[in-house]
Structures are given as C-alpha cells and as structure tokens.
C-alpha cells in the first residue's frame, strides 16, 4: 500500500468522522447567521472528506477520471465552501 493511499484513507476517516457531529450541531443551531456558519463548516468537512475518499480510491485504482474527481472537482469545491465559511466568519466579526 502506498503512503498516498494510507494518508488519504486516514484523512477521509477522521474528517468524515468529525463531520457527523458538525452536521448535527449545525442542525441544532436556531440563530440563522450562526446556522449558516455551522452548515458551511459541516459541508466543508463532508466534501473534503469525500475528496480524500476519492483520492484514496484514485491512489488504489489509478485513472484520470478518479484523479479529476478528486483533485479537479471535489477539492476545489471543498475549498470554495471553506472560503465561503471564512468570509462569513470574517463578516460577522467585522
């Protein structure tokens, strides 16, 4: 097994693991602006966890499609969500 596969599988496991309580907390928050922050953070964790999962599959099976789905699709989407979270966090504290 390659280091790429092991580390991506490990990252996927811990991020998807922590995304579950993050999703539950986001659902419990009643204040709209904080609920948005919670949702964005939880969404980032879920999508970034998916990225690592697909990247570990890419490391195992290889191929351009899985490589594109991980590095070319889910990774930028997860960072786009993280950026939206950062902007929301910044704007509330502005």
């Amino acid at each position: 097994m390659s280091l790429d596969l092991i580390l991506n599988a490990f990252d996927a496991a811990i991020i998807i693991g922590i995304s579950l309580p993050a999703v539950l907390i986001a659902r419990r928050i009643q204040i709209p602006k904080l609920r948005l922050l919670g949702t964005l953070l939880a969404l980032f964790l879920v999508v970034h966890g998916m990225y690592h999962l697909i990247d570990s599959l890419s490391a195992y099976y290889g191929g351009d499609l899985l490589d594109f789905l991980s590095d070319g699709f889910t990774e930028p989407i997860s960072y786009l969500i993280l950026l939206a979270f950062g902007v929301s966090l910044y704007r509330l504290g502005e």
Partner: protein
C-alpha cells in the same frame, strides 16, 4: 473527448487561488479577535498548515516548481492539517455538548471575565443559543476585543443585541463590583473590570 488531465490542471490553478484567499481571510479574521483562544485563531492555524502543504504540491502539479522530493512530506503535512482541524472542531463540539465541563478552570481575571460573559449569555439567551455563539465567537474575544464582540453580537442578532449588551455590562459591573454608569459600553466596562482584577476578583461571590 474531454481532456481530463488539462481540466484537472485548470482546477488546480483555481485551487491555488482559493488557498491564497482562504489564508488571507482567515489571517485577517484571526488578527481581529486579538486573542489566541478563539475559533478564528484555530482556523488560522489549520489554514497555515494546509497552506504549507498545498501550495508546493499544486505548484509542482502545475509544473511551476520541482517539488517531487517534497511530495511525501507534503502529504504528511496535509494530514497534519486535517488532524489539527479535527482536534479543534472536536474540542468545540465537546464544549458545545458539555458546556459546564471546561478543560481548564478559570484562573486569571481574563478567564473569569470570559466565564462570566458565557454565563450571562446562557442566562439571557438560553443555554443552546449561548453555546452556538460561543462555538464560533469565543467569550475570550469579549475580553480582548469588546468592541468587536459587541459588533459581532449586533450582526448575529441583526441589531437586536443592544439590550443584551446593556445587560451584559450591568451584570459584569455588578459581578466584579465596579461602578456602573448609564450608557456605559462593554469596552469601558471590561477595561475597568480588568484594571480592578489586578487587585481582587471573585465573580461568584457577588
């Protein structure tokens, strides 16, 4: 036939831009809180580790630098950034679920003020709402940047935070036995409490 390799390469350029933007916004957000004990600072630490792992990797993928010898180390640093993020989020989730269970009991006056702010929020807004506020805007921010904390409450509750802040000022002054003047803002109140705190404080005794 779509050239997936070139599509991936274009996306990597976009990813690089996003990472720079994330780093910039989280740096400014963390700097504004003026305390290391805030969620904003924790997110900044995570972004810093992520930045150091991702930038050389993406630049290498784009063929702009040769970081092939760095590849394995970069993967390890990326994993480290994930561990950092998971640890910070897990600690906040723990505090959210068990608000009374602090890892460290408040010792200095600053921690006592933060603890009092948290208790006032819980008493005024209800435990659930107060915990949601504390998850993203640590009560420590109120100690080191009371003006920013007041603004944050105003934005979170869309201008409806005036009575809450007035109550907070009144409660803090009462708990720490400092003179409360009409129209006193949170900044002046906390300044006085911190000044007085150098001598003696026991918010629980009031």
């Amino acid at each position: 036939m779509v050239d997936l390799e070139s599509l991936t390469s274009t996306s990597e350029t976009f990813t690089l831009l996003l990472i720079f933007l994330i780093m910039a916004i989280l740096t400014v957000a963390a700097a504004r809180t003026k305390t290391l004990r805030s969620f904003q600072f924790e997110m900044f630490v995570f972004a810093l580790v992520l930045f150091s792992a991702e930038v050389p990797r993406v630049l290498d993928t784009l063929g702009l630098i040769d970081a092939s010898s760095y590849e394995d180390f970069g993967l390890e640093v990326h994993s480290a950034s994930m561990v950092v993020l998971v640890a910070f989020v897990a600690l906040r989730v723990y505090s959210f679920q068990r608000p009374g269970q602090a890892f460290l009991a408040p010792s200095g006056v600053d921690q006592k003020i933060a603890s009092a702010v948290k208790s006032i929020l819980e008493a005024q807004m209800g435990v659930s709402a107060a915990r949601a506020v504390a998850f993203y805007f640590d009560p420590n921010i109120a100690v080191f940047d009371p003006k920013g904390y007041t603004k944050m409450l105003g934005k979170t509750f869309m201008g409806g935070a005036g009575p809450l802040v007035r109550l907070m000022v009144s409660e803090l002054c009462s708990q720490f036995a400092v003179p409360h003047e009409d129209g006193m803002d949170l900044e002046s109140c906390i300044k006085q409490v911190r000044k007085k705190g150098a001598t003696s404080t026991d918010p629980g005794a009031g």
